[in-house]
Symmetry: C2
């Protein structure tokens, strides 16, 4: 017997359909642990003035809506602060945490639900399988498609020294609601960048050495759905919303059971040092990985052109030597990503110098 296969944790309940968000109340009420144990809704603050969504959030007793900004990627400090506020404000552990927003809000909701039952700081749990206790009940309601955060067993946070996920079986949502109508208001550019997060997950998963048939079949379907959405097709707008939401779901399952690769390794560095958002960072990076993902890059470029996207350039022009050390060491520290992309002897195939050369082109 070789390396054990991974016992994958799946989202146990999923509600899919245009308009399904209106069923949230029916889903939550049986989970209420008492009138003192509230549901806490973490909601992307882009909805603060968008009453359609907020009006549909079912609040009773001490339930509370907390608007969170997704301008910045979520941090361990932000999680710790949210957890502290919830503990101080209520007499009981909440009945549940419901995240309504994009990947950042998904990640916040997952992390807060974990830290309500695991002591210390979120940064203590960045890594693989460090979480000891089950989280409180948590529900993910994505309002943009592509991150796969709604289905993954990780929550990616920037900590004081690293950007890294809390990877654990307890991280996975207990319930997800996939309502394509919630993505209607997403601006086209953001829709592209986030959709590409999914496409790039698929490329990295399908062309990685960790690939297994379970990941492959999910990734293949997700990739073809991305192409149907972002290349010329007969799909209506509502079908595009539906299929992109499904692409995110299947792509997330694919990646959860394999691993990302060089795009993510370099994109994490950009995010940490230059504060570039994840979706944009991935697109900037893949443009320069012709040696590693040539076929994926060719398709990416067709999608980029068809959707008239102009990528930022000159990102790394003015890095200090200290920042250069930081960005290359962050990228290199993500060992499983390199191993997935290049195989077991990846250390002989890439070094700081080559990574810096790649970044210098961005």
């Amino acid at each position: 017997m070789g390396i054990p296969h991974r016992n994958m944790s799946m989202v146990p309940r999923v509600l899919f359909g245009a308009g399904s968000f209106s069923q949230l109340s029916a889903i939550l009420e049986p989970k209420r642990q008492g009138v003192k144990a509230p549901f806490v809704f973490l909601v992307d603050d882009c909805f603060a003035n968008y009453s359609d969504v907020v009006d549909q959030i079912p609040t009773s007793y001490e339930d509370r809506i907390v608007f969170v900004s997704s301008e910045e990627e979520p941090t361990t400090e932000q999680v710790d602060l949210l957890v502290q506020e919830i503990i101080l404000q209520f007499n009981s552990i909440p009945s549940g945490i419901i995240g309504i927003g994009g990947g950042s809000v998904m990640d916040l909701a997952k992390a807060v639900s974990l830290l309500l039952t695991n002591s210390g700081s979120a940064s203590d749990y960045q890594g693989w399988d460090l979480v000891q206790s089950p989280s409180v009940f948590h529900v993910g309601v994505p309002t943009i498609s592509g991150t796969g955060a709604e289905v993954s067993r990780t929550t990616v946070l920037k900590g004081p020294v690293k950007k890294l996920g809390i990877n654990s079986d307890y991280t996975t949502f207990d319930q997800v609601i996939l309502d394509p109508n919630l993505t209607i208001g997403v601006p086209a550019v953001q829709r592209f960048y986030t959709g590409m997060d999914c496409f790039i997950h698929c490329i990295e998963s399908l062309e990685g050495t960790f690939l297994n048939p379970f990941s492959r079949v999910h990734g293949e379907k997700a990739k073809s759905l991305c192409e149907a959405v972002f290349l010329p097709s007969q799909l209506s707008d509502s079908e595009k919303r539906e299929y992109l939401m499904m692409a995110s779901w299947l792509g997330g399952i694919s990646i959860a059971n394999s691993q990302v690769g060089i795009v993510h390794a370099l994109s994490y560095g950009l995010s940490f040092v230059k504060n570039i958002r994840h979706g944009v960072g991935n697109c900037i990076v893949i443009e320069h990985l012709n040696n590693y993902y040539p076929k994926g890059l060719e398709t990416f470029r067709r999608m980029r052109d068809f959707n008239e996207i102009e990528l930022p350039t000159g990102i790394c022009e003015n890095l200090s030597e200290n920042q250069w050390r930081q960005i290359t060491s962050i990228a290199l520290s993500l060992e499983p990503l390199w191993e997935n992309a290049l195989g077991k002897n990846w250390k002989s195939l890439i070094d700081e110098k080559e990574i810096r050369e790649l970044y210098e082109k961005m």
Copy 2:
């Protein structure tokens, strides 16, 4: 708001991989409720003399292996008897029920785990959402691919008056192990019939009126995997085993969230009255549904020919009038299947006479 969308229950843990069956012990031990609460392994008796599989079953304390025949499709009576035996034999409710076998064994394991915590007979729960209490922990280990029973929220049983599933959220397995190596010994003919169960699920789901995007994307991928396995391709035998297992999984998810159609409606009648096994029955039926599933039938026939399968004929030649009444009324009683296939006004599109005419050709 129209008809509510279904909050789908998914298998929360899945272990995939050739050889993964050897990890069963590591999965079970944390679930043991005490030394008096055994794990009961329901195992297809085709493995009774096949020591490789049985040798790998981890038994300790009072754990027990029960061989069950899958010659006949499972009955409510068989479930009731197994539950009674378990209750009489042990002082505690079992820690878990593990089904190791084909669709029949999957269905038995699911039903036994439900009836250990829900009083009365299995026949009391045939229908939709009649189960009141959660089942005991139950694990599915399929040893043939195609039924989708490993992932579905139903357990199809023949009762005293009907063949019908126990459809409930508690039916779904808590854990599934997908080890393609366990299907190595399946005879080619059986592999074809069971694989076609999956293919036909996809046809009925994809061409049904209940179709939603969630079911569609799972069904499309499952269908294309079936075609890769059963039509000429470059796949190795081990890849065929892997992809057929994934086809069954995705096809099961597709069908769990939509509905089967006319093939299953008529096949259920054949099964009940003529004792034709489900997989064979589906193939016999689809041959005569050119008016309903012409494209699916065309592909089916290519697969049938490439795999050199000869289907039985003359099945309904000697039915008594009583049997004719029974077979047509069973087929017509499966209203959701007809509605899925033909739409809301299906009753104006099909009647007993036409159903009998279809059966007379089989």
